[in-house]
Amino acid sequence: MKPEIDRDRSRREILQAAAALAGGGALLSVRPAAATPEMMKDAVRAVIGEAPVKKGKVKLDLPPLVENGNSVPCTVSVESPMTAADYVKAIHIFNEKNPQPNVISVRLNPRAGRASFSTRIRLADSQTVTAIAELSDGSFWSDDIDVIVTLAACIEEPKP
């Protein structure tokens, strides 16, 4: 498995530092910029290398209309017999608009019996979420879903 480098974060920090130097009086925004599709591509490359990714075998389940982006149920299933000869080694989930492109990376082996897991994720905005599975034969497969995130109507004041 490729070592994970937080390249998106270090790139953002360099860009912000450069902006601060060049921007003169401009206040450096405390809130980091949202991730971009390019940063997601970088994050994917950092995790799976240059291998081609094919659509198929993977099913990513997310509600198309999200009530609250703080907690979005998410299920990934990959078609696989999960035998020693043919199993899913890893499943990664990426997003393109959160401050950070990685969501979760799961490592599996034939003892799983079924290549499927569920969790609850955070989505900062309407965006595309992508799941990529790595199979024991070295191939990569993916699925993606476009999600619309509505915001809560009545926001409370921050707790002191």
Binding site: S71, I104, R111, A112, G113, F117, T119, P158
Partner: protein
Amino acid sequence: MARALIHVPATAKKGDVIEIKTLISHVMETGYRIGVTGQPIPRDIIDDFVCTYNGEEVFHAKLYPAIAANPFITFFTVATESGTLAFSWTDQHGATQVQTAAITVE
């Protein structure tokens, strides 16, 4: 110790694929939220979760800030033999919490 809720079937038939559900209390502070002071609240997340079955890893997840507060993770494993499932959550500071559940496999 953070409160954790684990659901493992108490018994299973050998070879059955069983579903395991885990839920742990943790704020999963992203590091991007601005506090009342105007400064970002520092990141504080669980970043590693692993399940072993009689000592052998059967599930591992690397978690990022995009995992919702009070991480809920469900997955599957083959009921191979009776014994102990151990669940470990490790935060970004390296602190680990382990909880176990017994299973009887016929």
